[in-house]
Symmetry: C2
Subunit: 222 residues, 2 copies
């Protein structure tokens, strides 16, 4: 499903503020695999995830998603690929502040043309799956940190994406709530979906089939 | 230093969306103590912290900070108390996006009238203490999740506040970086400052002198 070769990302290249976020990383992730990415703060984990999710473009190297060379796609083709294939749980949640929890969760369904009554029904079911059915009418500012994270997770799962990318999905959760979320991810993987998850919690990484170790923009082979 | 009695907080009281966030909690925290607050997602930890930090007002109960009954203070007196006594690390970081890391860290010093050259010097030292001296000129959007959290920590420490309130301060950090931050907190406590920290990581709670357990808006005595 996912193949990346010598992928590099440099911010502000050639200037005094140049930062090498990724320094030539390569790897392959099969369909239906559950992979964890671990590593110190600032080591390049989110940068790699953003490239895999077609949210950003690499400075160098090649990336193929489902056999398609992503560098050959234009911006609207990349957006179409994201919408059809990929679900995101961002490190900062990125919920829309003026929408309710239900509206935030239903949002991905509006992009693929699902009619309103089905959107409501599926979004309510997704909120129930993360334990927040009673809070559907609340806005993000009326929810705790961990509740906001769970809304972001429900939004990422609503389209049952072929590839789920989750950046520290249990970072704001206590261990019991975190385990409940990981069970949802394992159900997705059992159904043949690919799950890629960033964490710095070894107990979370243990749920994955294998772990990639990032350090200073490089992948260490364990 | 901190005494709270039957503290309650209810959102949207009397309406269909009523939520009881805190259900009558009492406790005392001495000056120079290091206390951890743990509990499930949505149990009331951040709500209690916001009341202790005079960022919000309780629906019921009493709160005294340094012997002063906070309910007798008006908004500007509460702001003065916060500025002089309390440092915050918020769960969502709350960094100002258009300011650099250095400017964000120096901000609390502008409120207490420290001249510009000293602000710059102390802010640079605070960034060095959290391992980010080279990133002083970057804005929050150019930093990783864990780096942003460390900027928020440096900002909270810059005024060497009498009371440090930290809401999941190591939530976005790997365990090694997290330990370095906790060492900074312990140095503050050794110097006689009070540290109150929310976490769902037992390894972090172990650094505290004692732990308060929240559950459904109540404090359980262990
Ligand atoms: N403005 C608000 N309106 C309605 N409910 C609110 C509001 N703010 C907080 N709450 C609710 O109050 C309860 C306690 O929230 P709080 O943020 O204190 O939880 P927490 O223990 O910090 O959780 P987490 O570990 O997820 O951060 C939650 O159920 C939350 O949804
Ligand atoms: N827009 C940008 N401009 C400059 N540097 C950037 C930018 N975005 C990210 N970086 C830098 O790239 C490096 C990798 O960042 P990344 O967000 O991938 O780290 P991470 O491994 O996810 O860290 P964390 O665990 O703290 O979230 C960091 O040093 C970061 O500061
Ligand atoms: Mg990151
Ligand atoms: Mg909280």
């Amino acid at each position: 499903v996912i193949e990346f070769e010598q992928l590099g990302k440099v911010y502000a290249p050639g200037s005094a503020a140049e930062v090498v976020a990724l320094d030539g990383v390569s790897g392959r992730i099969q369909a239906g695999e559950f992979v964890a990415i671990v590593g110190p703060s600032g080591s390049g984990k989110s940068t790699l995830m953003n490239l895999i999710g077609c949210l950003d473009t690499p400075s160098s190297g090649r990336y193929r998603c489902g056999g398609v060379d992503v560098s050959q796609l234009d911006a609207s083709e990349r957006a179409e690929l994201r919408r059809q294939q990929i679900g995101f749980v961002f490190q900062g949640f990125h919920l829309l502040p003026r929408m309710t929890a239900l509206e935030n969760v239903a949002l991905p369904l509006t992009y693929v043309g699902v009619p309103r009554p089905q959107r409501r029904e599926r979004a309510t079911a997704a909120l129930r799956a993360v334990g927040l059915a009673e809070r559907a009418a609340h806005r993000p500012s009326e929810l705790s940190g961990g509740q906001q994270q769970r809304v972001a997770i429900a939004r990422a799962l609503i389209n049952r994406p072929a590839i789920l990318l989750a950046d520290e999905p249990t970072g704001a959760l206590d261990s019991q709530t975190g385990e409940e979320i990981l069970t949802l991810f394992e159900q997705l993987r059992l159904a043949g979906h690919t799950v890629i998850l960033i964490t710095h919690d070894p107990a979370v990484a243990n749920h994955a089939d294998r772990t990639l170790y990032m350090h200073d923009g490089r992948l260490r082979t364990p």
